[in-house]
C-alpha cells in the first residue's frame, strides 16, 4: 500500500495549516475526509437533491435509491445477515442512546444491572446513567487491569443474575486495548445476556463481521470512518429491532396514524424518524468504497506497523510514559511527559502542525482510575506515516526544551 498516494486523496493535506505541513494524529477523535466523500456531498446537493422515502418524483426516487444503497453497502461491509438490521442515526452516540433508551424502557426494572467497563467513553456510560435515574438500575464496571485491558475474566467476575445487558467498547480510545468481543459475547449469551458493542474505534480500524461476532448491537461512528459528521449506524439483530419500541416519533417511522392510535413502520423505518442526514448517508457510501478499495486487512497492518514504530520511538524518550500495554492494541497511544501537562504539550505541538488530543478523551472514569486528570493522545489513520511519528517525537523534544527539561 503506497501511503503517499492515499494521502493525496485527502484534500486537507494539500495546503499548509498555519504555515506547517499537517501532521494529523487525532483520527480517534475524528478522521479526515477523502475527496470522493466531500465531492459526493457537493454532487448530491447540486445535482441530485431531494428528500427520501416520501415523494414519487424522479429526484425523490433516485435519492431514496442512493440512500438505501448505503444501507446495503454497510450491511455487506459489516457482514450483517439482513439489510434491515442497519439503522442510520446521527452518530454512534445516538445509536447507543437508542439502545439504552428502548432496551431500558422495555426490559429494565429497579435493581437490574447494566455491566459496562472502566474503559468506556462517556457515550457508553451516560446513556445508561439516565436509566439509573429513571429506572433505578445499577451500573457495574468491569475493571481495567494494569496493562489497560479489560479481559474476559474481569467481565465474568462482574456478571450476576441481575445483569440484563453488557455494553463494551471494541477498542479503547485511550489505551488502544482491543477487547475479546467474540469471547465476551459467547460468555454473555451462555447466560442469556445480550451484548452491545461500542464500535466507535473498532469500526474504522478492524475487520467487522457481525455474524461472526454475534453481538446483539454494534454502534458505528461515520465521521471516524473517513465519512461525514452527522451519520452513525446502529447494527442490531433483527429480533431486537422488532421487539424494542421506537426511539423517536415523527414522519417516516409510522405505519398508520389515526386519532385513536398509531402503528409503526416496518424495519428499518421504525427507527428513522424525520428527515435523516440524507447527504451524509449517501456520501458515507463513498467512505465504505474508500475503505474497501484499500482493504481493511491492509489498513490494520499499516496501523500496526505505525504503532510498533511509534512505541519504539517514544520508549527511547525517557520522559515519556505510555499509558497501558495491552497485548492486542489498535493505533492509539496515550502518554504523559514528565513535567509537562498534556495541554501545554498540545499547544506547543500545534505550533509545529502536529495535531494531537489532550485531556480525558471523554473517559473520566478511566483517568480517575489512572490517577491522572489528563493525558496526551496520538492516534493514527490511513494517511499517517513514520515521518509523522518522527515529527511528533521531534516536537515533543521541543516541548522539553521550552520547559527547560532534559
Amino acid at each position: 500500500m503506497n501511503i503517499e498516494n492515499i494521502k493525496k486523496e485527502f484534500p486537507i493535506f494539500d495546503d499548509k495549516i498555519q504555515n506547517n505541513d499537517l501532521v494529523y494524529l487525532d483520527s480517534a477523535n475524528s478522521a479526515q475526509k477523502p475527496k470522493m466523500v466531500v465531492d459526493r456531498i457537493y454532487d448530491f446537493y447540486t445535482k441530485e437533491f431531494s428528500n427520501v422515502g416520501r415523494s414519487v418524483h424522479y429526484l425523490a426516487v433516485a435519492a431514496t435509491n442512493l440512500y438505501e444503497n448505503t444501507r446495503s453497502s454497510v450491511q455487506k461491509y459489516i457482514n450483517a445477515k439482513d439489510r434491515n438490521e442497519i439503522v442510520f442515526t446521527k452518530g454512534a452516540t445516538e445509536a447507543i442512546n437508542l439502545v439504552a433508551n428502548t432496551f431500558g424502557q422495555k426490559y429494565l426494572k429497579e435493581g437490574d444491572e447494566v455491566l459496562i467497563t472502566e474503559l468506556e467513553h462517556h457515550s457508553n456510560y451516560v446513556p445508561w446513567h439516565f436509566l439509573r435515574k429513571s429506572k433505578k438500575i445499577n451500573i457495574e464496571f468491569a475493571e481495567v487491569n494494569d496493562d489497560g485491558e479489560v479481559t474476559l475474566e474481569s467481565i465474568e467476575k462482574k456478571i450476576t443474575n441481575k445483569t440484563k445487558i453488557i455494553g463494551i467498547t471494541h477498542l479503547s480510545n485511550v489505551t488502544g486495548a482491543i477487547l475479546p468481543v467474540k469471547e465476551i459475547v459467547s460468555l454473555a449469551h451462555s447466560k442469556g445476556i445480550p451484548v452491545m458493542v461500542d464500535g466507535c474505534q473498532g469500526a474504522p480500524h478492524l475487520k467487522l463481521d457481525m455474524q461472526d461476532l454475534d453481538c446483539d448491537f454494534y454502534a458505528i461512528s461515520g465521521h471516524k470512518m473517513y465519512g461525514p459528521t452527522g451519520i452513525g449506524i446502529l447494527y442490531a439483530k433483527k429480533q431486537w429491532l422488532e421487539e424494542l419500541p421506537p426511539y423517536q416519533g415523527g414522519g417516516g417511522m409510522i405505519g398508520e396514524v389515526k386519532k385513536k392510535g398509531i402503528s409503526y413502520g416496518n424495519l428499518p423505518n421504525k427507527y428513522e424518524a424525520g428527515t435523516m442526514a440524507t447527504a451524509q448517508v449517501i456520501a458515507f457510501n463513498e467512505s465504505i468504497k474508500f475503505l474497501e478499495k484499500i482493504g481493511i486487512e491492509n489498513i490494520e497492518k499499516h496501523e500496526k506497523d505505525l504503532l510498533n514504530y511509534a512505541i519504539q520511538v517514544l520508549k527511547k524518550n525517557n520522559s515519556i510514559n505510555i499509558i497501558g500495554n495491552p497485548k492486542k492494541k489498535g493505533g492509539v497511544i496515550s502518554f504523559t511527559v514528565e513535567g509537562i501537562h498534556p495541554h501545554d504539550l498540545a499547544t506547543i505541538l500545534d505550533e509545529d502542525g502536529v495535531a494531537i488530543r489532550a485531556g480525558h478523551h471523554c473517559c473520566q472514569i478511566l483517568h480517575d482510575k489512572l490517577g491522572l486528570s489528563a493525558t496526551a493522545r496520538a492516534s493514527f489513520g490511513v494517511y499517517n506515516s513514520k515521518d509523522d511519528i518522527d515529527q511528533l517525537n521531534e516536537s515533543l523534544n521541543k516541548c522539553k526544551k521550552i520547559f527547560n527539561l532534559k
Partner: protein, 155 residues
Amino acid sequence: MNLKELYQEIILDHGKNPRNLRRTENFNKDAKGHNPLCGDKVHVYLKLNENKKVEDISFEGQGCAISMASASIMTDLVKGKEEFEVKEIVNDFLDMIKEKDQLNSNILNEDDKTKLMCLSGVKQYPMRVKCATLSWHTLTTAIEKSQEEINTESV
C-alpha cells in the same frame, strides 16, 4: 503566534513551583472550579479578616502550566488586599485577558502589573484562555459564594 510569549520564564516558574499551593487553615471562604472540557480542577481558599482584608489565600488543584501559573500569580497579588480591591483586580484581569490591551486598575503596582501581563500571551490561544481564567472565576465565586461550583462552561 509566539510560544515564547506564552511560555515566559515567569509562567514556567510559577507553573512548576506554584506559590500558595496549599489549603489555608481556618479559611472562611472557598469555592471549587472545574473545566469540564479538559478536566482541570481548582479549589480556592480565602481567609478574610473582620475588615474584609485578605489575610490569606491559597489553592489546591491540578492543571497545565498556564492554569497553575495563573492561580499562583493571582494568589500572590491579592494577598493583603481588601475585598473590593480584589474584585477590581479580578475584573481588570478578566477584561485584559478577553479584550483590553492593558491593565487599568491603580490598585496594582507596576511590578505586579508586569507579572500579570505575562499571562496576556494566552490571548493568542483562544482554547487556552479558560486555563488562565479558571482560578480567577473561582476566586470571584468564593468571595460572592453565589454558586457551589463554577465551571468554565457557565461563565
